[in-house]
Every structure is written in C-alpha cells, then in structure tokens.
C-alpha cells in the first residue's frame, strides 16, 4: 500500500514511477510464476516475465472454468445447507 502512495507524487499531473519500484515488483512476480522460479537466472527480461504472467493467469482462468463445469454437474443434488455440504466443508478445512 505504501508504495502505491509514494508513486502518486503527481505534482504536475505526471506520475513519477521509479525504476527500483518496478524491478522490485517484477522480482516478486517472478517468485510467483511456476516456471521462472525454478530457473536460476537473474537476467530474465521484463517481457518474458509478462508473457509468463499472462499465460499463467490464462491457465488459472481456464482451470476455474473447468472446475465450475465439474462442480455444476456434481453439486446438482447437493443443497447448500444440507448435511452433505457440511461434511464436504469439514473435509476441505
């Protein structure tokens, strides 16, 4: 949150974004991405990180979609407040 506030030092209406902020954010992003994290290299270009990020987000979206599809078939008979739902909830936690 604090970094967002400091980047909004817009005096003349032009936001000053420091390079260190961008580098720090990109390195955090790298740690989240599954493929790049395993590669031991410091010199991963920004465009590669962006590409991996987009691919990863797209695959996550696809997974949510597939899971919704599966669940819509499975949860057909399960009522939200029934005993079965309670059992499932306890299984997940």
């Amino acid at each position: 949150m604090s970094s967002r506030r400091s980047s909004g030092q817009s005096t003349a209406g032009v936001s000053r974004i420091s390079d260190e902020q961008i580098i720090e954010l990109v390195s955090k992003l790298r740690q989240l991405l599954p493929e790049i994290r395993d590669r031991r290299s410091d010199k991963v270009s920004a465009s590669k990180v962006l590409q991996e990020t987009c691919n990863y987000i797209r695959s996550l979206h696809r997974e949510v979609d597939d899971l919704s599809e599966r669940l819509s078939q499975l949860l057909a008979t399960i009522d939200a407040d029934s005993a079965e739902a309670a059992i499932i909830r306890s299984l997940i936690m």
Binding site: S7, I17, K28, T53, R70, R89
Partner: protein
C-alpha cells in the same frame, strides 16, 4: 507461495453464502446456468475477501452486480451484506475510475511526448534492439491489462501490484474449488 488458509476459508465461506442465493431456483437450472452461477459466486466471493481495497476486486464486484439475474436478493448483497455492498459500490462508481483515469491520461501524454524524442536521439542499431524490447513489453502489458479485471484503469505500477494480489487470490480460488470437486466426487461415489 501457497495462499494463506485464512484467505481460502474466507473465500469458501462467502462462496457458500453466495450459492445459497440460488438455492430456490437450483432444481430448475440447466447445467450451463448452474455453472455460470457457481463461477459468478466464486468470483464475487474471492473479490469480497479483499473488502474493496484492490482495484481488481472492485471491478469484479461491479461485474457481478451487472451480471446477476437481479431479483429481490442480489448476489453481491448476499455475499457482502447490505451495508458493505453500498460502501463498495460507492467506491467502485466514484473513487476508482476517476483517479485511475487521471493517471492514465497523464501517462498517455508522457508516452506521446517521449515517443517523439526517442526516435531522434539514438543510433540506429541500439534504437532497433531497444525499441523491439520496448514494443514487446508494451504489447504484453496491454495483454496483461486485458486479463486483470479493471486493468484498463491502472497505470503500470498499479497493474503489477494488482497482478500479484490477483494471482494469489486466483490460486486460493482454484485450490478451494479443486478440493470441493474432489470431495464431492468422493461423496457421490456409491
């Protein structure tokens, strides 16, 4: 980085609350309708876990508000509770868009002015390599912007910050949905 279990529990609780909104019409829903209901309540639930603090969550909630069937009980109201729904809708309608639009406008002006100078200063070979790299980054940033909800309103730094939070939340959502799917499969085995 595994999403914290608190996030997953929060999401599960809110998602279940959201699904209850459909409990009356559940018997008559087609599979496609049910899938959309599940997906929509999951999205609004994971967005509400952020309590309106991030741009993407506000955009998702606004999206859920408009996509909802819209009878007496709104999905968003079910998940957020009537008080917080009003607060968040205020943030979405007033705060978020105007601030981000100002940033985008000033960023565009800066980009336009920089672009004119950039081509004149550098030697041809350096200009080619760096301009290709910059073009790639710009193109991929645009793609990322289209993937994050509400991305069109963010500047570059905000976009990356929001991406970090969005990925963690998406992971929590996927984890919980996957667990529920496998648990349901186990439970439904004869």
């Amino acid at each position: 980085m595994r999403p914290p279990s608190s996030l997953r529990q929060e999401f599960l609780k809110k998602w279940m609350m959201g699904l209850q909104r459909y409990s009356t019409s559940k018997k008559n829903m087609s599979i496609l309708e049910r899938k959309k209901a599940i997906k929509l309540s999951a999205d609004v639930a994971i967005a509400s876990a952020r309590n309106g603090t991030t741009c993407w969550s506000r955009a998702l909630i606004a999206n859920g508000y408009s996509k909802d069937g819209g009878d007496d009980k709104h999905l968003v109201e079910q998940i957020l509770g009537p008080e917080s729904e009003r607060l968040i809708m205020k943030k979405v309608l007033t705060g978020g868009a105007s601030v981000c639009n100002k940033r985008m406008r000033s960023k565009k002006i800066l980009k336009r002015s920089c672009g004119i100078q950039r081509t004149r200063k550098f030697a041809p070979q350096v200009a080619l390599a760096s301009s290709i790299a910059k073009r790639l980054v710009r193109k991929r940033t645009q793609i990322l912007r289209s993937l994050i909800p509400g991305g069109e309103f963010m500047n570059d730094v905000t976009l990356i910050e929001e991406t970090l939070d969005y990925i963690i939340s998406l992971r929590a959502q996927v984890d919980v949905m996957r667990s529920l799917a496998s648990a349901s499969e186990l439970a439904s085995e004869p």
